[in-house]
Point group: C2
């Protein structure tokens, strides 16, 4: 049951990620999950709740991968670079889109969607705090100077990643966006 529910949630996540909230219909979700409408509503409550659960699942999965890469990295900044180069949707071939789901969701929900927008902001904030913690570790480890501002660095990294997500949807050749991703990873590693 829980296994089925998780599998259904993964399907829903994929659909919402690629099509967005408004363009994904319950019919779409029925087809993708193999569930009937009654079961969907019994299991998840509503389309909006299922969307929120998808967002949470996405953040959780991405975070797990990040923690895993950080744990086996030789340094905090190296771990962060590994995350960008191997786990982030930008460089993860398994992702349905080379775009962070949270970034896409932020831009779809206007400033008016109330609870959904709040939930997204909450997850973005948590995410950025994790970046901030990594930069703090880098300062402690002597990788970054004491004068560095971890909060500001975390902000800039969030924005840079979002910028690349946008750029990845352009019709450009893959080499261009790949170069931009490695540039960003190099900047994080302070290779320049």
């Amino acid at each position: 049951m829980n296994h089925n529910k998780d599998a259904a949630l993964d399907q829903a996540l994929n659909l919402f990620w690629t099509k967005g909230f408004a363009s994904t219909s319950i019919k779409d979700l029925e087809r993708a999950t193999g569930m009937h409408p009654g079961s969907i509503y019994a299991a998840f409550g509503s389309k909006a709740k299922l969307y929120c659960l998808s967002l949470e699942r996405y953040a959780l999965q991405l975070n797990d991968k990040r923690a895993q890469l950080m744990a086996s990295a030789t340094s905090p900044l190296q771990g962060l670079a590994d995350f960008i180069l191997r786990a982030h949707p930008l460089s993860n071939a398994d992702a349905p889109l080379p775009v962070c789901f949270l970034v896409k969701a932020t831009l779809e929900s206007g400033l008016d969607d109330g609870s959904i927008h709040d939930k997204i902001n909450e997850m973005l904030t948590r995410n950025e705090e994790l970046f901030e913690a990594v930069f703090e570790q880098a300062i402690s480890a002597g990788e970054l100077s004491q004068a560095s501002n971890p909060k500001k660095l975390a902000r800039q990294l969030s924005a840079d990643l979002a910028g690349l997500c946008f750029y990845a949807l352009r019709g450009d050749e893959p080499t261009v966006i790949n170069e931009m991703i490695t540039d960003l990873a190099d900047r994080v590693r302070q290779r320049r």
Copy 2:
């Protein structure tokens, strides 16, 4: 007639900009423009065509403002910084959202929407070519070294602006995003 049509198009642009394509209904457009459904279809053809016209109008208006600021700037890079600080939706209080409409539209249209996605890409490319031309002027004027890569600089500026657009929708205090905008403008002006 054309005046009315332009006014209606402006209203449609505002709606599509704030709500996105999928979440804007014909009823919404009727209310905003004061037109009846028959007139809307007589004037614009379809919802998708009206959306494309809105995108074009947006790009045209933004471009006009950009050209105007560039013309009265003391140098190419100064003009570009003025554009960021005064015309771009990020810093333009008249904009319904602090987010470039083209960026939002790129992220809403998946990679599957066919003609709409192509049209957006076309406009983004044109926009980036204009950035590129400015950087070329800056090289000619001696503002940038001959070794600079205008194409790469234009790409990075597009991505940086998109990243800030994402960031502007977060719940953060305005001072934070303002600082990020001035930082970007300073970087363009090569103040660091």
